[in-house]
């Protein structure tokens, strides 16, 4: 059933995102075309100054619109994430969704996976659009060269394990996305358990969750600081390479986010399966 839910969730959201992606790439293309023309050259060919300044304005406009569409796309990613959970599951459309023979966890996963999917797609499309604008014949060779340089500075010289760091980084970003979404879902769900002022309670829940996370983070840092201050640990630290420390921090961040995500998931799942009250 999760597969079917994913199919319909993607369909329902694609009609928002695909036009935006088309817009981003189209305006990137416009910008590229404008960049190919050099207006000061045109002056020599006898184009009036007036016409030239209009072209300048249009060029500035396309750049502005390009940036705006990107901003709008990311705002949309966020808005759709909230709206699909709040309206499609806990609004009128929930009457349909929660009478389907599907369990609550499938609903959560379908919303979550599709939301993360679109966030990743938005990032990829934005990168693509930059590539479109920056494109020149030797771009890929140059880029490879740049990567090689960067790699040397970051990894070869520091001795950091590149593959491990890369995997850790991607994992951390993805898991932060999942946990971030689940934090909103859990907040909305907690708000749903109240009879009235559900949106207000959702806000309050979000702030409370945020504060709890902050407190836990602070406590961990303080405790870690105290523990590490002892002689045994200080000696050990001296012997440990800073690159190892980076790995430890990355892995710890990942685990921390995973645990937070699981807690938010459990809260959401509990409310949707045991405390559902659609009005």
């Amino acid at each position: 059933m999760l597969g079917k839910l994913l199919k319909y969730e993607t369909k329902a959201t694609a009609r928002w995102f695909l036009p935006m992606y088309g817009g981003i790439l189209l305006f990137a293309l416009f910008n590229k075309l404008f960049m190919l023309f050099n207006f000061s050259d045109m002056d020599v060919h006898g184009i009036p100054v007036f016409f030239q300044s209009i072209l300048g304005i249009v060029q500035a406009m396309t750049v502005f619109l390009y940036v705006m569409i990107i901003v709008a796309t990311f705002a949309l990613t966020f808005f759709i994430m909230l709206q699909r959970f709040y309206k499609n599951l806990l609004g009128d459309e929930g009457y349909l969704m929660f009478t389907l023979p599907v369990d609550a966890s499938s609903h959560i996963w379908s919303k979550l996976l599709v939301s993360v999917f679109w966030t990743v797609c938005s990032v990829i499309v934005t990168i693509l659009s930059v590539i479109v604008m920056a494109a020149y014949p030797e771009m890929f060779q140059d880029f490879a060269l740049f990567c090689e340089k960067a790699f040397q500075v970051l990894f070869t010289q520091t001795g950091l394990n590149a593959t491990a760091f890369f995997i850790e980084f991607v994992l951390l970003v993805l898991i932060t996305l999942f946990t971030g979404n689940l934090m909103f879902y859990a907040s909305i769900s907690v708000g749903h358990t109240r009879g009235k002022h559900r949106v207000l309670y959702a806000f309050v829940a979000y702030i409370v969750f945020y504060m709890i996370q902050q407190i836990i983070t602070s406590v961990v840092i303080v405790v870690a600081g105290m523990v590490l201050d002892t002689n045994y640990w200080t000696d050990l630290m001296m012997d440990t390479a800073p690159t190892t420390l980076i790995h430890i921090i990355m892995i710890f961040s990942i685990l921390y986010n995973v645990v937070a995500g699981i807690v938010y998931y459990l809260i959401t799942n509990y409310v949707l399966s045991k405390k559902l009250n659609l009005e």
Partner: protein, 234 residues
């Protein structure tokens, strides 16, 4: 022997912050009945139906359908028509039929298209462009096109014109089968009395009467509609 009991409510209570919507309700309903769930506004009709369909959670008590507590198994066999429109308005009728077919194994696609044709509804129309009445008809078609065990129809004849009302009652009757039960909530009893086997009277969240239509007529010498007006005279 096959178990004729379809729905059971044991001590079902539902509290809202401001009031008690259902008060320790006990109820057993068999297969093959058409049942009127009657009561004034706010008597708990909608609450009961929403509890059975699983979009509300009882404060206490147990509800079972076919012996299963409310959950995936019961949602497979319960077909629910809410009192509001709940369909995604950007979809075409055709898309929604595909949606139902995808999720409900007991959905009969041919039946749905047949009924659409009889009501002159174009499957390629978007719900956005439809009138409220047409949307309600589409929802009824979707709900009745499932070969379910329990149909829950919340105020299906609420705001519709007489022709549509006759069509709805006709649909309910022609879809009747002896293994399925239909529960219709309404406060317009006069129109549907003749299609009902039994009636349940709810008042302030309690069941005040459960009887068959003919029993009421035989014992009271008056129609359920008349009795209802007397009981709930305000």
């Amino acid at each position: 022997m096959e178990n004729r009991v379809l729905l059971e409510c044991k001590g079902v209570t539902k509290n809202y912050p401001s009031k008690m919507a259902l008060n320790f309700l006990n109820l057993t309903i068999e297969r093959g009945r058409i049942i009127g769930l009657l009561g004034p506004n706010g008597s708990g009709k909608t609450t009961l139906i929403k509890l059975i369909s699983g979009i509300l959670t009882p404060s206490s008590g147990v509800i079972t359908v076919n012996g299963n507590p409310i959950g995936i198994e019961t949602k497979k066999v319960v077909s629910y028509l809410p009192e509001r429109t709940y369909l995604n308005s950007w979809m075409k009728v055709r898309d929604i039929i595909a949606f139902f077919k995808d999720f409900y194994q007991n959905f009969n696609e041919h039946k749905a298209y047949d009924m659409l044709k009889r009501l002159n509804i174009n499957p390629n129309d978007r719900l956005k462009t439809m009138s409220k009445g047409t949307k309600e008809k589409v929802q009824l078609i979707l709900v009745m096109s499932r070969d379910a065990d329990l149909y829950l129809l919340d105020e299906p004849i609420g705001g519709v014109d007489p022709a549509a009302r006759d069509y709805i009652l006709d649909t309910i009757l022609s879809n009747y089968n002896e293994n399925a039960t239909v529960i219709i909530s309404t406060h317009l009893i006069y129109d549907i009395e003749r299609v009902l086997d039994d009636v349940l009277f709810l008042q302030n969240g309690s069941l005040v009467m459960a009887s068959s239509v003919d029993e009421i007529r035989e014992q009271q010498g008056k129609s359920v509609d008349e009795l209802f007006r007397e009981v709930f005279r305000c």
